[in-house]
């Protein structure tokens, strides 16, 4: 169920008080922005995507089911938008061999002031398939339960678990391969 404050803001918004939606954005924009950023890596694209998610949420607010949590609903939109964005970008990159787009994106990445470790993890994440990346982001960054991830990705809990376990092992192997994570040899005889 949605937190009382979110529900109140949603109702006020549906009654025509636009500022109430501003409060909802203020409350959830950081989460949506970070999900987008971890999914697509680009700071500028994450902003655009956050913007798209909130505008769509506003337009569909009258269809929101009060039995769900608002943040789960908005996560769901953020993840879906991210998946669509990645698919679109893949098509775009396949059509355009020109390196200009990638160069622009590379400079955009530099806008984020993050530690080297964070950048390494982000690089490793980007080597995962988008579906696997989504479960890692939702579990490890957003600390959601299997059940919540299931709702957001529209998957049964069992599938969430198996996908998460696979994604985690793959990410570990990528990080070891790239030298970001040390291969543990302490216990090997």
């Amino acid at each position: 169920m949605t937190a009382p404050d979110d529900l109140l803001l949603i109702r006020q918004c549906l009654e025509g008080r636009r500022e109430a939606f501003g409060d909802l954005i203020a409350r959830h924009q950081k989460t949506v922005f970070n999900v987008a950023l971890r999914m697509i890596k680009d700071y500028q694209d994450a902003q655009d995507l956050t913007q798209t998610v909130f505008i769509k949420a506003y337009e569909k607010l009258d269809t929101f089911n009060e039995r769900h949590k608002f943040f789960s609903w908005i996560y769901r939109m953020a993840v879906n938008e991210s998946l669509n964005f990645v698919k679109r970008r893949r098509r775009f990159e396949a059509l355009d061999d020109n390196a200009e787009y990638s160069a622009h994106k590379q400079s955009a990445v530099e806008e984020i002031e993050e530690s080297e470790m964070s950048r390494n993890i982000q690089n490793a994440l980007m080597d995962l398939a988008i579906d696997h990346r989504a479960v890692i982001v939702l579990k490890h960054y957003e600390e959601l339960s299997y059940h919540e991830i299931g709702y957001i990705l529209d998957l049964p809990e069992k599938t969430v678990k198996s996908r998460l376990f696979t994604a985690r092992q793959m990410l570990k192997d990528i990080m070891i391969q790239k030298g970001y994570l040390k291969h543990d040899r302490r216990q090997i005889h």
Partner: protein, 260 residues
């Protein structure tokens, strides 16, 4: 080769959803299997690294930018709602039901405590427990007998003793009646004020005190003491009537002057 069962347990351990028993079982397995221990250590290290990643702050202009892009007339303002609708919304959204449970619990406790206390407090019609409540003890010592009346009717017998002091009048009534009788004690409200009724052995039935009159139903053998305050130096009237089925059996009026 790590068994699938333990791979799942390792992942669940990382997610913090294993039961204490499952955790203990896993720890024992890891202690005995070097490959599993290595796998677990690597996943734990990676999970720790992911935890270290701090969320990035979105740009400050993001919220106003989104607000500017919202369609202007998507949700038209609705007319103001009444008090009931507002209260209903408040109950549905803001009201925390745990406070209602606490209130209900407190109320129940209060009712139970009140009930328990009530059992030990003086009941309004339990006059036998009122002795000494209102009359100063010193005044009772100064009482002197002024008359003793004999009651010797066909259906009721007994005695009425009347005592007085400077501020007090006391009537002691001892009645014997085989059938229920009604005793009415009238007094002059101008000069006297009822203060106390005391059943000396048994509580009377149906005791009623109204302005200027004390009425009780009597059966068997019982003694009562009725006390009045009297204005110093004034003369007061006390009237004793005993009735059976509204038929007078005994009637006597006495006048008392409070001696200073």
């Amino acid at each position: 080769m790590i068994a699938d069962k333990y791979i799942e347990l390792i992942h669940r351990e990382i997610d913090g959803v294993n039961s204490p028993q499952a955790s203990a079982g896993l720890k024992a397995y890891l202690a005995a299997d070097a490959e599993a221990q290595r796998f677990y250590n690597e996943l734990i290290a990676m999970s720790g690294m992911l935890k270290e990643v701090k969320p990035v702050e979105p740009p400050a202009h993001l919220q106003p930018m989104i607000m500017n892009m919202l369609p202007p007339d998507r949700y038209a303002p609705r007319p103001r709602r009444g008090l009931l609708a507002t209260m209903r919304e408040w109950l549905e959204t803001k009201f925390n039901f745990k406070y209602a449970y606490v209130f209900a619990g407190g109320l129940t406790m209060g009712i139970v405590m009140y009930g328990l206390l009530l059992q030990t407090t003086v009941q309004p019609n339990d006059w036998s427990k009122l002795s000494g409540a209102m009359i100063p003890r010193e005044e009772a010592k100064n009482l002197k007998t002024i008359t003793e009346l004999e009651i010797a009717a066909t259906e009721v017998s007994g005695k009425i003793g009347v005592k007085k002091s400077a501020q007090m009048v006391e009537s002691e009534v001892a009645l014997v009646a085989g059938q229920p009788v009604e005793m009415i004690i009238g007094f002059d409200e101008q000069t006297m004020r009822f203060q106390e009724f005391q059943a000396l052995n048994e509580t009377p039935e149906n005791l009623r005190v109204t302005a200027g009159t004390i009425t009780l139903r009597h059966t068997g053998q019982k003694n009562y003491a009725i006390r009045f305050a009297i204005k110093s130096g004034a003369t007061g009237r006390v009237e004793f009537k005993i009735l059976r089925a509204e038929k007078p059996l005994y009637e006597r009026t006495i006048f008392i002057t409070a001696s200073p």
